[in-house]
Symmetry: C2
Subunit: 308 residues, 2 copies
């Protein structure tokens, strides 16, 4: 079968650290081009300044991976889908829920595959956690996602703008895992968002959710963490405690601890290839829906100004 | 067939003005009880202080209409659904999207009917507007929903609290009509929310949406209107202009104007009866999704304090 010719659009940190290596490591894809108004990425690979230029002038592509900030992702996806090009959406899949739903309508209309990628769901401990929890009674869940924004998002102005999500940008990774591993649907009951007085997005958030069997899920997101960085999910069950740490890479069960290697983006591209070959889409907006719900019903607190 | 025994829970303005008369006018229902911690509603009809008391002590009911503020609606709906009682949710159907989705899961599990009611969709002009627009090319849509909050929501503190939606409480009626009459899905591109400095919910909002054929939809919600009150939707098409005014009651087409009588709640209860008899639910969260999207991505402005 011919390889899937793919272009990577947006060449920020995530594209260079994750997408380009994952594509290089997957024989189903061939990197046809990179797209960015800024710098050229890879010797010997065609580079264009815009997606419009790529779609107009070539080289021909079957798929694009959109690694730009979410605020501009929708219009790029529309341009690709109008040509029947398959679309990989980095997380979050859009700036609003309704725009993602509208993309799905367009993708279905042209028969293209749309993939809302949640990389954290492919962390090594997540699939075994989901399998282990499937038969348990869930008593309580605690999510702690505390990192230093200055280390992980230096100078990313867009992340603080409306539509940029603030601390929910990493936090949505936790929500993507929780919605995936728990056996029942979960929903938001209350939220508190803490915003720096000079920013439009929260630097911290506390969420209170329930599952449909009334198990409480408490979520603590904070970007002001110095020292140890915490990306932990603890699930108390009738068979003991499950702990996912390091963002899902390490799984501790009552029977012992497993450390997996990082396979997140390899897993995503394998999944994207299967969607394209199968003529399907995979657009789960549940994690973004919880974030939207937190903005919708959350109580807002103001804290001191944040400067990079 | 035996009548459907229904209780009305929450006896505020909307329950008294609309629900009780609509139930009295529909032979399919019999009013079994009213529920409110405050006053007794109707001579000769059993009255209870809480839904829990009703479900524990009777009289027996087949259905409940929840007319309380949205922040407490979910827990009441869960209590009813746990008994297999059908639930009519006043608009908006909940404080968050995820809690409404979770209610649907519970309703399906017990085989009860769940109805997310959008009364404005039953306004006299809406069905003919939808039929007329089905075959048109949509060029542009303008929604203007400007009313005086002091007249329509006097002293309703909950409406200004987180989860209370502010100006989106009436505005969601417009969104329920627009999402119903336009032939294509619509999605939010940008929003500006204006909040009084002493309130947690917006007093005005401006939304910019598109449909999936790129037609622009501009929305102007404002609660500071004095003088004439405006609830207008104007749709420009290839066959001329459609104007729905007075909240959907009056429809003006190029061929002339129709004035309908108010049949909104009669229509809702007729629909609810059909859902129960047919063993179905009807839970469309598209209008609330646009509101959540506006809170998610909207730019916020602060304006002068609002006092009732």
């Amino acid at each position: 079968m011919d390889p899937i010719r793919i272009a990577v659009v947006g060449l920020g940190k995530i594209a260079r650290d994750q997408h380009l290596p994952a594509i290089a490591g997957n024989g189903t894809f061939s990197l046809a081009a990179t797209v960015s108004p800024h710098d050229h990425a890879i010797e010997g690979v065609p580079h264009l300044a815009s997606l419009d230029a790529l779609l107009a002038e070539g080289p021909a592509v079957d798929a694009v991976a959109l690694c730009t900030p979410p605020q501009v992702r929708h219009d790029l996806a529309v341009a690709a889908l109008k040509r029947g090009v398959h679309v990989f959406l980095e997380k979050p899949p859009g700036a609003t829920l309704s725009e993602v739903a509208a993309l799905q309508v367009r993708a279905d209309r042209v028969g293209a595959s749309l993939f809302a990628a949640w990389h954290a769901r492919f962390a090594a401990g997540v699939a075994p956690a989901r399998a282990w929890l499937a038969e348990r009674r869930i008593d309580r869940v605690q999510v702690t996602w505390r990192e230093d924004v200055r280390v992980w998002h230096p100078g990313q102005a867009w992340i603080w703008e409306p539509g940029g999500l603030g601390v929910f940008d990493p936090g949505i990774n936790a929500l993507s895992i929780v919605t995936h591993i728990l056996p029942r649907p979960i929903f938001l009951k209350a939220a508190t968002l803490t915003l720096p007085e000079n920013r439009a997005a929260p630097i911290a958030a506390e969420l209170h959710l329930l599952d449909t069997a009334d198990a409480p899920i408490t979520v603590d997101f904070d970007w002001r963490q110095t020292g140890p960085q915490l990306w932990d999910i603890i699930v108390e069950t009738d068979a003991g405690t499950l702990r996912l740490s390091q963002g899902g890479a390490v799984l501790a069960l009552p029977s012992g601890t497993e450390h997996g290697e990082d396979v997140e983006y390899a897993g995503l591209y394998s999944r994207f290839a299967n969607l394209i070959r199968g003529g399907c889409s995979d657009v789960d907006t549940d994690p973004l829906r919880i974030v939207a719900d937190a903005f919708l019903c959350g109580r807002r607190l103001t804290t001191q100004a944040f400067h990079d």
